[in-house]
C-alpha cells in the first residue's frame, strides 16, 4: 500500500500542474476554469459516458502496450504508427478477399494484421542489428514511407472496386468479420447502458494486458527483456544475446502494433473498412501512454482511460463557447510534467540508494579493520 502511494506521488503532482496550466490557459482566453471543469465532470460521469470512454481507451491501450514492450528494453519504437496503419489497410483489404465463417474471418484478419505489423517492424529491427541504424531514425523514416505506401495502395490496388464515390476506401467488410458487442453481457449484470454500445474488442485488450503482464513478469523472455533494459552489460555477461533480444522485442512490438487498428476495423460499426476517416495517429498516442503509464500493464491502462476521459470531457465544451482544445493542452502538459516528475523521483531514489550502499560499505569495512579503510582513503 505504501509502495502504491509512493508510485502515485509523481503522477498526482503532474496532474496538479496540468490542471493549473489548463486553468491559466482558460483564464487567459477569458473563460471561467471552474465552469469548464464542472462541465467536464458532468460529461464523464454518466454510465453512457463511461462506456464511450472505455471504447475510446481500448485502441489507446493496445498502442500503449505495443510501445511499452520496446521501452522496457530502452528501444524507442516510434514506428508503431506506420506499423498499424499499414497493418490495418492490408488486413482490411485481405478481409474482403475471403469468405469465412464468423470466428475464422475475424481470426484471419487479426493474423494478417499482426503479421504485417511485425513484418514492417522487422525492417527497423534488421537495420539495427545488421547495420547499427538507430531505431528512432529508421522508424521515423518508415512512418513516412508507410504513409506514402498506404496512400499509394489506397489510390489504386486496394480501392473499393466500381465505386461511384470519390473517397478512396477499401470495400466494406462482410458481417462475418464483426466482433460482437458486449451490451447483453453487461445488461445481464443489471447495469443499464442507455444508448451506448460497449464494443467487444475490449476483451482482446484485457487479454493482451494479462498476456503482457505474464510475459514480462513470469517468463524467461520477460526477465531477459527487463534485465537488458536495466543493464545491457550484465545481461550479456549472463548469456543473453543482445541482437536476438533486439530482433525479438521490436518484432513483438510491431506485432502488437498491428492490432491497434483492429478495434476500429472489426468492432466499431462506424468503420468496418479502411478509409479517409480511419484514425491515423494512434501510434503516437501510444507513445505518450507508455511514457505516462511507466510501461506497466496497469499503468498504461490507467493512462489510456485518463487520456480518453479528458477527450470525452472536453468534447462538448465548444457548444458552451469554451475552446475544447483545452483537452489537448491538458494532455500535453500532463505528459510533460509527468515525465519531469518521474525523472526527479527516479534521481532522488537513486541518490538515496547510493547513500545507503555507501553507508553499509563504510560500516562493514569499519568492522573489518581500520587499515583497509585508511588504505582506501589514501588511494
Amino acid at each position: 500500500m505504501k509502495r502504491l502511494g509512493r508510485a502515485l506521488v509523481a503522477p498526482a503532482a503532474a496532474a496538479g500542474v496540468a490542471i493549473v496550466i489548463s486553468a491559466l490557459a482558460l483564464l487567459l482566453s477569458g473563460n471561467s476554469p471552474l465552469r469548464a471543469f464542472a462541465e467536464m465532470w458532468d460529461n464523464v460521469s454518466s454510465a453512457e459516458s463511461i462506456v464511450l470512454i472505455i471504447n475510446r481507451a481500448v485502441p489507446y491501450y493496445i498502442a500503449g502496450v505495443a510501445v511499452a514492450v520496446g521501452f522496457k528494453m530502452n528501444l524507442f519504437n516510434i514506428g508503431a504508427n506506420g506499423q498499424y496503419i499499414l497493418a490495418a489497410l492490408v488486413a482490411a483489404w485481405a478481409g474482403t478477399q475471403v469468405s469465412l465463417p464468423a470466428p475464422l474471418h475475424v481470426a484471419f484478419i487479426l493474423v494478417v494484421a499482426v503479421f504485417v505489423g511485425a513484418a514492417w517492424a522487422s525492417i527497423t529491427a534488421i537495420l539495427k542489428v545488421t547495420r547499427n541504424v538507430n531505431e528512432v531514425i529508421s522508424s521515423i523514416m518508415l512512418n513516412f514511407i508507410a504513409t506514402g505506401l498506404v496512400a499509394f495502395l489506397l489510390a489504386e490496388p486496394f480501392r473499393e472496386p466500381d465505386s461511384a464515390s470519390l473517397i478512396a476506401q477499401t470495400e466494406k467488410l462482410a458481417a462475418s468479420a464483426t466482433i460482437p458487442k458486449l451490451n447483453r453481457l453487461i445488461e445481464w449484470t443489471g447495469v443499464d447502458l442507455g444508448n451506448a454500445n460497449l464494443y467487444g474488442f475490449l476483451v482482446f485488450a484485457i487479454t493482451l494486458g494479462i498476456g503482457y503482464h505474464l510475459l514480462l513478469n513470469r517468463s524467461r523472455f520477460g526477465y531477459e527483456l527487463r534485465l537488458t533494459g536495466i543493464n545491457p552489460d550484465a545481461a550479456r555477461a549472463a548469456g543473453v544475446n543482445p541482437n536476438a533480444m533486439i530482433l525479438k522485442t521490436i518484432i513483438l512490438s510491431g506485432a502488437i502494433a498491428g492490432l491497434i487498428g483492429m478495434h476500429s476495423l472489426l468492432a466499431d460499426p462506424q468503420f468496418h473498412r479502411y478509409g479517409d476517416q480511419f484514425p491515423r495517429n494512434l501510434g503516437f498516442t501510444g507513445i505518450a501512454l507508455a511514457l505516462l503509464g511507466r510501461n506497466s500493464p496497469i499503468g498504461v491502462a490507467a493512462a489510456a482511460l485518463i487520456w480518453a476521459m479528458i477527450e470525452r470531457g472536453t468534447q462538448p465544451l465548444s457548444l458552451l463557447g469554451i475552446p475544447q482544445e483545452i483537452g489537448v493542452i491538458m494532455q500535453g502538459s500532463f505528459l510533460l510534467s509527468a515525465i519531469i516528475a518521474y525523472e526527479v523521483v527516479r534521481r532522488r531514489n537513486e541518490a538515496r540508494t547510493t547513500a545507503e550502499a555507501a553507508r553499509l560499505i563504510t560500516q562493514s569495512t569499519d568492522a573489518d579493520s581500520n587499515e583497509t579503510t585508511e588504505a582506501q582513503v589514501a588511494r
Binding site: 528512432v136 475552446p323 519531469i340
Partner: protein
C-alpha cells in the same frame, strides 16, 4: 608529396586519378559535376526543359528553406549535446505565432513571431532535458504532442472570432513579403531601371551544361523572397559561428566531451540551454517561412518537415553545408511536385538518376570495387527501365523518396557518419 601522404588507402596508391578523387575537396567537386552532367543529359534526352529550369530551381529553393532551417535547428541542438526530436513541435509553434503576428502586423513580424514561438518551445524542452535530465527523445516527443494542442487552442481563441480566420487557418497576413531579383544577371530592377537578364538569355539557348548552370543560378537569384534570403544568410553565419568563434567551440564541446568542457570552465548546462534556444528559434523561423509562403497559418502546415530536417542533419553528417545540400535535394524532390506536369519531370528525374549512377559505377572502377560497381549498374539499369516503361509515375512515389533516400544513406553510410560523441546523454555537473 604531402598529397600522397594524406591519402589514406594504400590500395589505390599507384593510380593518380584515384589519389586525386580520394581527397574530400575533389570528391565533392566530382559529385557536383556528375550531378550537373547527368541532369543536363537527362534534360536533353527526355526533352523536358523543366528539369533544370530556373522556375523549378526557384520553387525548390522555396520548399527547401523551411527544411533547411529545421535541419540547422537540429544541428545547433545536437552539436550542444541534445537530440531534438521536438523540431516538429517547435515548427508548429512557429507557424501559429507567425500566423498571429503576421495577421496583426505584417510579414516581418511573422518572422519575429515564428522565432518567438519556436524559442519558447525550445526553452521548455531545455527545462526538461537540461535542468531535469529527462531522456531527450521522451522530452522531444512530449513537445510534439503539446505543440499542436497549443496551436489549435490559440487558433480557436485568436482566429475563430476574426473571419476569414477559422480553427484551421489564420485570417491571413497583412501585406506580403518583398522579393529580390539580382540586377544584370537575372533582370532585376536598379533604381527603377530594368537591367538585362543575361542568365535568362543563356538558359533559353538550351546549351548542354551551360544553360543548365544558368538555370540553376537564375533560379537562385530571381524573385527570391526576403525570408528565404535571410535563411541563406543564417546558414553562412552559422557555419562561421559554430566553427570559428569561441562560443561555437564551447557549444560543440558540450556535445562532444561535456566533462572536458566543464573542467575548462565552460558551463555545459548554459551551452545546452543556448543550443536548444537557438534550435527552437530557427525551427520557429522555419515555420514562419512556411506561413509567409502561403500568406497565412494553416493547421498541419508543417507536415513532417521537422522530421525531414532531422533527416537532412543525418544525411549531412551534422555539418551546415551537408544540411544545406540535403535540404536542397529534398526541397527539389518536393518542389517538382508543385510544377505543372510533375509526372513528366519525375520521369526525367529517373533518367537523370540512372545516368548519375552509371557515372558513379565508372568512378568505382578506380577503386576496383567490383561488388559496388555491379550493384550500381544493376540499379542504374532498373531506373532506366523504369524511365522507359512508366508513363505517369505515382505522386506517392515522389512523396516517399526523401525518406527512402535517408534510410538507404543511413544504412549504407552508417560507418562514415559521425554524430556528436555524447549527444543524447543527460549530463550533470561533476559527472564524468
Amino acid at each position: 608529396m604531402s598529397v600522397i601522404a594524406e591519402t589514406p588507402s594504400t590500395e589505390v596508391g599507384r593510380n593518380p586519378i584515384a589519389q586525386l578523387i580520394a581527397q574530400p575537396r575533389y570528391r565533392l567537386m566530382l559529385i557536383a559535376m556528375i550531378g550537373v552532367v547527368s541532369m543536363s543529359l537527362a534534360r536533353i534526352l527526355s526533352g523536358n526543359d523543366d528539369l533544370t529550369s530556373s522556375g523549378t530551381i526557384g520553387v525548390a529553393l522555396r520548399t527547401a528553406a523551411p527544411i533547411a532551417l529545421a535541419g540547422l535547428a537540429g544541428l545547433y541542438a545536437e552539436r550542444s549535446g541534445t537530440v531534438n526530436i521536438g523540431l516538429e513541435g517547435m515548427m508548429v509553434m512557429g507557424t501559429v505565432f507567425a500566423g498571429w503576428w503576421g495577421w496583426l502586423y505584417g510579414p516581418w513580424m511573422a518572422v519575429a513571431g515564428g522565432i518567438v514561438g519556436g524559442l519558447m518551445a525550445g526553452l521548455l524542452m531545455s527545462l526538461a532535458t537540461t535542468t531535469f535530465g529527462v531522456n531527450h527523445i521522451v522530452a522531444g516527443f512530449a513537445i510534439n504532442i503539446l505543440a499542436p494542442g497549443v496551436a489549435r487552442f490559440m487558433s480557436n481563441v485568436l482566429f475563430v472570432p476574426n473571419p476569414p480566420g477559422s480553427i484551421t487557418s489564420s485570417p491571413g497576413n497583412s501585406g506580403s513579403m518583398g522579393r529580390f531579383t539580382m540586377p544584370f544577371t537575372s533582370g532585376g530592377d536598379l533604381f527603377g531601371w530594368q537591367s538585362p537578364d543575361i542568365l535568362g538569355w543563356i538558359e533559353n539557348q538550351r546549351w548542354f551544361i551551360i544553360s543548365d548552370i544558368s538555370g540553376l543560378l537564375r533560379g537562385l537569384s530571381t524573385n527570391v523572397s526576403y525570408d528565404v534570403l535571410l535563411t541563406i544568410a543564417i546558414f553562412i553565419a552559422s557555419a562561421y559561428i559554430l566553427w570559428r568563434t569561441p562560443f561555437g567551440l564551447r557549444l560543440r564541446a558540450a556535445g562532444e566531451r561535456p566533462a572536458a568542457a566543464d573542467s575548462l570552465g565552460v558551463s555545459v548546462a548554459k551551452m545546452r540551454h543556448a543550443g536548444l534556444a537557438i534550435s527552437g528559434a530557427l525551427a520557429g523561423l522555419g515555420g514562419a517561412v512556411l506561413v509567409i509562403a502561403v500568406n497565412r497559418y494553416q493547421e498541419a502546415q508543417v507536415a513532417g518537415r521537422g522530421f525531414l530536417g532531422l533527416a537532412t542533419l543525418i544525411f549531412g553528417n551534422w555539418r551546415p553545408a551537408g544540411v544545406a545540400a540535403g535540404a536542397g535535394l529534398f526541397g527539389y524532390a518536393q518542389g517538382i511536385t508543385l510544377r505543372t506536369n510533375p509526372e513528366q519531370v519525375v520521369r526525367a528525374l529517373l533518367l537523370a538518376a540512372a545516368i548519375a549512377l552509371a557515372f558513379v559505377a565508372i568512378w568505382s572502377l578506380t577503386t576496383r570495387n567490383v561488388k559496388a560497381m555491379g550493384f550500381m549498374v544493376l540499379i542504374a539499369i532498373a531506373l532506366f527501365w523504369a524511365y522507359l516503361t512508366t508513363e505517369r509515375p505515382n505522386n506517392q512515389l515522389v512523396f516517399v523518396t526523401p525518406y527512402v533516400v535517408t534510410l538507404i544513406a543511413v544504412s549504407v553510410g552508417a560507418r562514415r557518419l559521425r554524430p556528436p560523441a555524447e549527444e543524447g546523454i543527460p549530463w550533470f555537473k561533476g559527472q564524468l
